[in-house]
């Protein structure tokens, strides 16, 4: 039995200990906001937060998150609003709308999860820090707008 908390709700799953969190979320819980892109920790499409830190869920076995707090894209707005979950978007998500970032959008769940965790630990990054810290693939090439949004969030 694997037990962990997803977006504030405890989940107990009868799955193998080495099942990646990605497939537990998608195929077992039907939570499809977290995306499969490469399966080998290379693209970041599957990024979620474990206790607030960005991890690539395609290579994170459920055993490694036993009892821990997981936030997915579906729960980010609530998590961003803290203990008083309100409607609407978290700041990063709102910036993504303001800057009209997503194109096909498929990478953006992971991109947003990566950026929100990155900014939480480094609210005012330099360009070099953004380059080193955000390594997700966006095949549509939304990077210039992502960078612009990060800068705007940093200045906010």
């Amino acid at each position: 039995m694997a037990t962990f908390i997803v977006n504030g709700v405890e989940q107990s799953l009868d799955v193998e200990a080495d099942m990646p969190l990605l497939w537990a979320l998608r195929d077992e819980l039907g939570m499809t906001g977290t995306k499969f892109g490469c399966g080998i920790a290379s693209c970041g499409a599957c990024t979620v937060h474990v206790n607030g830190n960005a991890v690539r869920s395609c290579v994170t076995p459920v055993a490694a998150v036993e009892g821990q707090e997981i936030t997915t894209i579906e729960g980010l707005a609530q998590a961003a609003a803290g203990s008083n979950p309100g409607p609407g978007q978290g700041a990063v998500q709102q910036a993504w709308i303001d800057h009209q970032i997503p194109q096909c959008g498929y990478c953006q769940s992971g991109m947003i999860m990566a950026v929100s965790s990155f900014l939480a630990s480094n609210p005012n990054p330099t360009d070099a820090e953004i380059d080193a810290g955000i390594t997700n693939v966006c095949r549509c090439g939304s990077y210039p707008r992502v960078r612009k949004a990060i800068r705007a969030l940093a200045n906010a």
């Binding site: 080998i40 997503p102 096909c104 380059d131 966006c138």
Partner: protein
């Protein structure tokens, strides 16, 4: 897919290809059928694509896939503006995958340009069990949605609907049509102060015939077009609620992991399931002609069990073929065949003999995978004599037709569930059927939905690739270094006619294509033939300039006298990039210009060499003349997207063949531009007022040559084959005085 068959179809359909205005008007029955089949309560379709409810909510049905190009919003803007709708009251819906919402106008648009290109070929019979007409498709590709469907269907439908609403009001109030005006979803009669919302008029308006030739607005009359309007698909893409094909989900769903014959065209000979069937969650092993699949209750379980299955494949004549062999074959073909004519001007052979000087250069590019971010997938649920399907696609009707034929069902028995599409770039066009066919054949063995997923490795190795192409050039000069001859021999096939043609005023041109077919399957890849030909052409014209002792920018300008749009974009981009001005130490500018899909684009790349002796692309300045911009914000996004896509290919992109199969597997072997390598991009949109040009693709072709032309200045090395990463720039010898 044999080229011959496709060429035959090309010949068969191009004849019917006059550019057609008045989509709505030509199919008066369409809105009637829509009203019979698709409305609830008192809402009504006034014309194709436009439904109005009594409370004045207007629903616009968009017959194209949203892949991030912002097409739902752009096409809705075009219809809404002509309709004089209130944008606040407009709802945007994906048109269902039924023939009522086919978008064949784009094919007619292409036919008007060059004949229907090969990559759209066969569409006539793709979904054609029911309606065998060229218009019966719902394709998104060829940078076509706005310029064809938008111009010739959505705007016309909006204008026609507006006229029908006006006529209805004139009749109701018994006044002259000329006394009426429309604004924000209302018809007004200023003299009497009467006003009616479209919703109040729609029941009667829907009974009218759409006008034959509704009048479209002049640009000065636009209220919605031309504005940077927020895209309607974005909110769902930031909170995880946007659904893609891969997100189809149900409690009883099964998942298939598949192994396809590693050498294209090979067949399955034997399977040893090993311990796969004993693994948790595994339901069945499905053997198909060219593949084996494990079906389980979770994709990871299926994939893991598949690793335990041993397979034996039929030997083929291609089992030993490598990329090097293919290159040799291309060279031989080019040496031994004069191929067939693509374009001949003047007498190139004779001018070559008489020339004072001749230069030669051989260029080549490798196969490329599309690698859309969403791995290929298709979910099919066969329920006796009907079926449901989910897949991210560039042609919903085509996919529905294909599933129907594979399942042995009539087309109408298959219900296509619309989703967003996690990137297409040509991978999700008709004919690239593998995931669709396999998913259907697997699902036929179950009575629950089965989702077949190609892993990233499966997709990388079972794609339909941008072809590997070789192009051997010659150029000849007179005593005064004027270029007299452009001589190009390249391996085909030609997927988009005209891509190897040059805009440059050179008196003698001979451009011919030789056979380049191999066992590797090919398809359209973002910008199709332009992706390779623009690299070739814009590099070789640079070689010509340097050889003639001329500045590459000035030489282009001189040779583009007949092409003012090319000159204009070149001048705007060069000026904005600071061409000819002082640059930071160690930086150089390279430029390229190209017309594709109706837009003319110039790009200037600012490049330096890094400590690892590989180029750093600092900035790209782009000027595009796309006629005019429906939504400038999405134009800018598409340009940046196209440049980064082309830059990934130029720097890193390479699919190599080893032992008949693809060597690369996942992103580390097929690297992409990421944040750290993504340049600053400065976009200048030139509104020439010419016809609308495409946007999804035209920015991709020029970037490779823009970068390699800069590398030449920095290192003295001419990059004649891609990707750039394969070149060793350690012994640099910068070119002075450029």
């Amino acid at each position: 897919m044999k080229m011959n068959r496709r060429r035959f179809l090309l010949a068969g359909t191009a004849a019917g290809g006059a550019l057609l205005i008045g989509y709505a008007a030509t199919r008066p029955s369409r809105h009637r059928r829509a009203n019979a089949d698709l409305v609830q309560g008192d809402e009504r379709f006034v014309t194709s694509f436009i439904k109005i409810a009594p409370n004045n909510q207007i629903t616009l049905y968009i017959p194209h896939s949203e892949m991030g190009q912002g097409i739902h919003t752009a096409l809705a803007m075009m219809a809404a503006d002509e309709l004089d709708a209130n944008w606040e009251e407009v709802n945007i819906e994906q048109a269902p995958a039924i023939d009522l919402f086919a978008n064949g106008d784009l094919v007619k648009g292409f036919a008007g340009e060059f004949g229907v290109p090969n990559f759209l070929m066969g569409l006539v019979n793709v979904s054609a069990q029911a309606v065998a007409e060229i218009g019966n498709l719902q394709i998104t590709g060829g940078s076509s949605s706005v310029r064809y469907t938008g111009e010739h269907a959505m705007r016309v439908a909006g204008a026609a609907a507006r006229e029908m609403l006006l006529e209805t009001a004139a009749e109701r109030w018994d006044v002259e049509l000329s006394e009426l005006s429309t604004e924000l979803g209302h018809v007004q009669h200023n003299a009497s102060g009467s006003s009616a919302s479209y919703g109040e008029l729609v029941a009667d308006a829907a009974l009218r015939e759409p006008p034959e030739q509704p009048r479209l607005k002049e640009r000065a009359q636009f209220n919605i077009m031309g504005k940077a309007i927020s895209r309607n698909d974005i909110p769902a893409k930031v909170d995880g609620s946007a659904l893609y094909g891969l997100d189809a989900h149900s409690e009883d769903m099964l998942y298939a992991a598949i192994r396809l014959a590693p050498v294209f065209g090979s067949k399955l000979v034997a399977v040893d399931p090993g311990a796969a069937l004993a693994q948790r969650g595994v339901e069945r092993i499905v053997e198909l002609e060219d593949s084996v699949a494990v079906v389980a209750d979770n994709y990871w379980r299926a994939k893991r069990a598949l690793a335990l299955v041993s397979t034996e494949w039929e030997q083929t004549e291609n089992d030993a073929i490598s990329s090097a062999d293919i290159d040799v074959r291309f060279s031989q073909e080019l040496a031994n065949s004069d191929g067939s004519e693509d374009k001949e001007v003047g007498d190139a052979e004779r001018a070559l003999e008489e020339a004072a000087d001749v230069i030669e250069a051989s260029y080549s590019v490798p196969y490329l995978a599309h690698a859309p971010m969403e791995p290929m997938n298709c979910t099919v649920h066969i329920k006796g004599d009907t079926a449901d399907m989910w897949t991210s696609t560039q042609d919903a009707l085509g996919m529905r037709g294909r599933v129907a034929s594979q399942a042995g069902l009539p087309e109408e028995a298959v219900r296509f569930h619309q989703t967003y599409c996690g990137g297409g770039f040509g991978r999700r066009l008709p004919f690239n059927w593998n995931v669709i066919d396999h998913a259907t054949l697997i699902a036929k063995q179950f009575d629950v939905p089965v989702k077949t997923i190609f892993s990233r490795e499966d997709d990388m190795q079972q794609d339909y690739y941008r072809p590997a192409v070789k192009n051997n050039f010659k150029a000849a000069f007179d005593e005064d270094n004027n270029v007299l001859v452009w001589h190009s021999r390249f391996t085909g096939p030609i997927q988009v006619p005209g891509a190897a043609h040059i805009p440059y005023g050179i008196a003698n041109q001979s451009i011919r294509v030789v056979d380049g077919d191999t066992h590797v399957p090919i398809a359209a890849w973002r910008s199709v033939d332009h992706s390779q030909q623009t690299f070739f052409i814009e590099s070789f014209i640079d070689e010509i300039a340097h050889r003639a002792g001329k500045n590459p920018y000035q030489l282009r300008r001189e040779l583009l006298q007949e092409h003012p749009r090319h000159r204009a974009v070149l001048e705007v981009a060069a000026e904005a990039a600071g061409y000819g001005q002082n640059l930071p130490q160690g930086h150089a500018l390279g430029l390229a210009v190209q017309e594709s899909f109706g837009s003319v684009v110039a790009e200037v790349a600012e490049v330096s060499m890094g400590v690892d002796n590989q180029p750093i692309v600092h900035k790209v300045t782009c000027a595009i003349d796309c006629g005019w911009a429906v939504n400038p914000d999405t134009v800018e996004a598409q340009i940046k997207s196209g440049i980064i896509f082309g830059l990934s290919a130029a720097l890193y992109g390479e699919i190599t063949i080893d032992n008949g199969r693809v060597r690369q597997g996942n992103f580390p072997d097929y690297e992409m531009v990421r944040m750290a390598t993504s340049p600053e991009i400065d976009v200048h949109i030139i509104e020439s007022g010419e016809e609308l040009g495409g946007l999804g693709e035209p920015a991709t072709p020029p970037i490779a040559a823009a970068v390699t032309n800069a590398i030449y200045i920095l290192t003295g090395q001419r990059v004649r084959d891609l990707p750039i990463k394969n070149h060793d720039f350690t012994r640099s010898n910068p070119v002075a005085g450029v």
